[in-house]
Symmetry: D2
Subunit: 301 residues, 4 copies
């Protein structure tokens, strides 16, 4: 793994998450060039030793370029678009996309990159910037095995958990599975919390016990607090979660995998939306459950 | 909290779990008398400073007696039975039951204790002996608040998480909720693992990613391994889990709380039993799912 | 079948339904004695040729006594109770119970009858009095085959459909299955009606089409009208239907038959109760669905 | 209604169903011209008084043309395609499509027709040819109200039930709702039949009772027989039913209507496919249920 440290890296997209991730590469002793649409945002990384470049095509001259942008359209633009990475005279050997984008966009960019002789690794990350900074992120990568093997030392500087999910867009599927799981856990937590609550158990005590047990997780700790406080300030709202369930169930349908609980939770998220919680955090599944249990008079907090 | 240390404690039931728990009280500097049906099993605690007594009624002379037995019938026997705690001349002020028993048995013993002027705290623990020894247990207690307040310093020597769930049998309900939650998480994990697997993702990589993410927990780590290896050596078999779902759904019915996902998982556990997995670990829910997805030919490993 | 006409029949319980049923026996040329707690209610049957008797024990002197009472307790009272059929000096050869009672009550009365040398046939009827009068009832009977064979000519005078479900309490199970089916059909109708309605189809047109199709039934015609008019005047309220689902799912659990849709509908009925529709007709499942679809503001008609 | 009889009608597509339907128009005294790709198939109608024409464009000269073809592509071809109805010099005033096609195809043809000044009525029929011939079909039509009013006398010659579902493609949605309902009824019947069967009730007796009750319908009579005999010769196979559930749930998702039971049945149909019943009749849902109840050893009949 040691030899890889001499490679020159590029980082495209230095928003909050990109800054944390690229910072981890610098902390690991890597040579990193950075570019961002709003160039001033590269300053913190430059202070840490990064070289700021003026254009995407200039960034393309390094060995491996990491991309961290907001959405599918952005990824397509900064790679296959005019002035994008693949339009440069000197191309990188590998593009590593860490953004959360659709499988379709990922496949499109992969095809364009490979046509240009550039390997592509789809490497979305789980966790918010604070968690990643704290060394608690997880990365799932997919693309050719040899590409993965060459990039994994860098990904390991960013997150303690890095796995290889397959040769193509499997990492996108894994992220969708992750979000299906998150939605199901939330509904499950909502059901037992409501049952305990109606049985006279203080919600906070219940959630604390679950978190102190083998079932406890960082996620349940945060989501449990939202249930207790009926605080539905969205980190991820019901419409966003529904979108991931749309994608997950469509993938399951195509692969012919029946998902009984996932499909039921999909309908319950839709029910929450019908009850007026579209723009609120999906912890509002609690409101639907509590109404059904006759515990509320339809007065959403 | 300091003054409480001068109280004399008793420990009834020194099987594997009781030994770990009573050991924690001794480590915390408590004065502990112990009794066990098979008296030789008290030896490790005596080595740590406990005093072995010859009969339950002798144990009854301390201030607080903790009980850790196997089942409802045992609890009833060692408390209200002939030669039981409540038959002693000198009664303890408090009985703390740490066993996992039914709400009915708990209520019966509570009533008998209170009739005799003894306070009763139902305090089941979550976690296996190794975990509790490792400082990762969680205790949920219910009974009068003042009783809880007096006992909590001792419970805190045993487990880092101790919560008060209510004045009566609420802790029993919480344990049932815990197991409903555990069953739902398992089915949820089964669904997404199967989807990822059919999409070409190695099961082990998928489970590792989930565990490295915010959703990861001690439970998922263990259960994920069972799914990957299709190892259904029971820690808790489908019939046992069905029993807890029977109890949970009965409680929900009585309290008029609809539980859509819990009731579906109940039916899926029944389906696993119908497919021949009654005596195997409930991780075998994976087999039902994989068959439904056309991935197996009915060949349970 | 002809020889059977010479048997003397008794009818116990001449409420609205009992009157219609006993009337059919008289219309068929049978010799019928009748008894009712409020004796004036036997008048219409006496006009048709029935003989009114003064006591249950007097009624017991005939060959076959049919019973049509309101509930389990009534059946037990008029058979095994003081002054009941089985306390008479001269006992009938067969008791045919047409009431809708629990399997437990049925088994209890059967055992008592058999101990006294009297055969027992559990023969509940489906349909309301108007329908039965109109020749559209259906009877499901269970008890010894030879008893059934002897009684079937009389049952056939009452209803065009008569089936033998088994040697013991199977007819009670069939009635529960009938009601599970009825609940599921209602929820199914609610779902498609709501979907069509939100898609711009007038509810009445939709229901008319379904009823004109192969799927149409007497039940859907009546229930469809309730959905269209949002008229929840109870014929059978949500609590009654929940009770039948309680029984059906308990039977399924005992027999180890998973019922995914039944158990979901059970939870939806509970949800309707939680939304305040306990005492209204179960057609109010529409309200829960329409609210979930964002079509109502919680304003039940 | 009388004046309408003077209109000249055309019938395009004289397969088995088209022949029955056009025959009903002739029986009603209408003036009908007919065309079919295989011209010999028009003979039975000609015998009844129809005039056979040689081309679609010739047929277009009448006032109202009814179309009964196999699939979406056929409808598009015979209307907007080369030599199709809309390519004729003299156009009809109304096209009535009685085929079962997608909402998209229907909307496309409607737009083309309206652009050419021709009104379009989407009028699918429920029932097979034998039932329609027997006077038990049902038609759901959508299109402009005035067009419907003009055509309804003819539709009423074909089927006793004719409803107007809305101004555009609502009739297509109604047909999908009809099939969702049919799938749910089947699963519901499967569940109660299995429960009764495991409780010792002969399947045939159970199904006969249900059919004799208010819940009975033509559909249940036929499907019940398939369950009893485990005869899965497809009239409509699981893949076809899954397709309709795909469409129905997609429509529900777009309109934001949660469908809990429909979505569960969708997953159960997928499960049947995973168990190897893709090409068999959806009555094979019984096999999935019976296996789950431990009643079969995976031996599909």
């Amino acid at each position: 793994m040691s030899g890889t440290r001499s490679e020159r890296l590029g980082w495209l997209g230095t928003g909050r998450m990109g800054t944390v991730m690229a910072g981890a590469l610098l902390d690991g002793g890597s040579d990193v060039s950075v570019w961002n649409r709003t160039s001033s945002k590269t300053a913190p990384l430059v202070e840490k030793g990064a070289k700021a470049v003026d254009s995407i095509t200039e960034l393309a001259g390094v060995d491996i370029v990491f991309v961290m942008v907001s959405a599918s359209a952005d990824l397509i633009k900064v790679t296959t678009g005019e002035g994008g990475l693949l339009s440069a005279e000197r191309l990188p050997q590998i593009i590593v996309d860490c953004s959360t984008v659709s499988a379709e966009a990922s496949a499109e960019v992969r095809a364009a990159a490979e046509a240009a002789g550039v390997a592509f690794l789809a490497s979305p990350i789980s966790g918010n910037p604070a968690m990643v900074e704290d060394g608690r992120g997880a990365i799932v990568a997919s693309g050719p095995r040899e590409t993965y093997d060459r990039v994994v030392p860098y990904l390991s500087m960013i997150a303690p958990t890095v796995v290889h999910a397959g040769p193509a867009e499997q990492s996108r599927l894994v992220k969708i599975c992750h979000n299906l799981f998150l939605g199901m856990i939330t509904q499950a937590l909502v059901e037992v919390t409501t049952l305990a609550e109606k049985g006279g158990v203080p919600k906070a005590a219940f959630v604390d016990f679950i978190n102190g047990s083998v079932l406890g997780s960082t996620f349940i700790k945060h989501k449990g607090r939202a249930l207790v406080e009926r605080d539905y300030t969205p980190t991820f709202n019901n419409k966003m979660l529904r979108k991931d369930f749309d994608l997950g169930l469509a993938a399951a349908r195509e692969m012919e995998v029946p998902l009984p609980v996932s499909s039921m939770v999909h309908q319950l998220i839709q029910t929450a939306i019908g009850h007026g919680f579209a723009e609120q955090d999906y912890a509002a599944l609690y409101e639907v459950e509590a109404r059904a249990a006759g515990m509320l008079d339809g007065d959403a907090s």
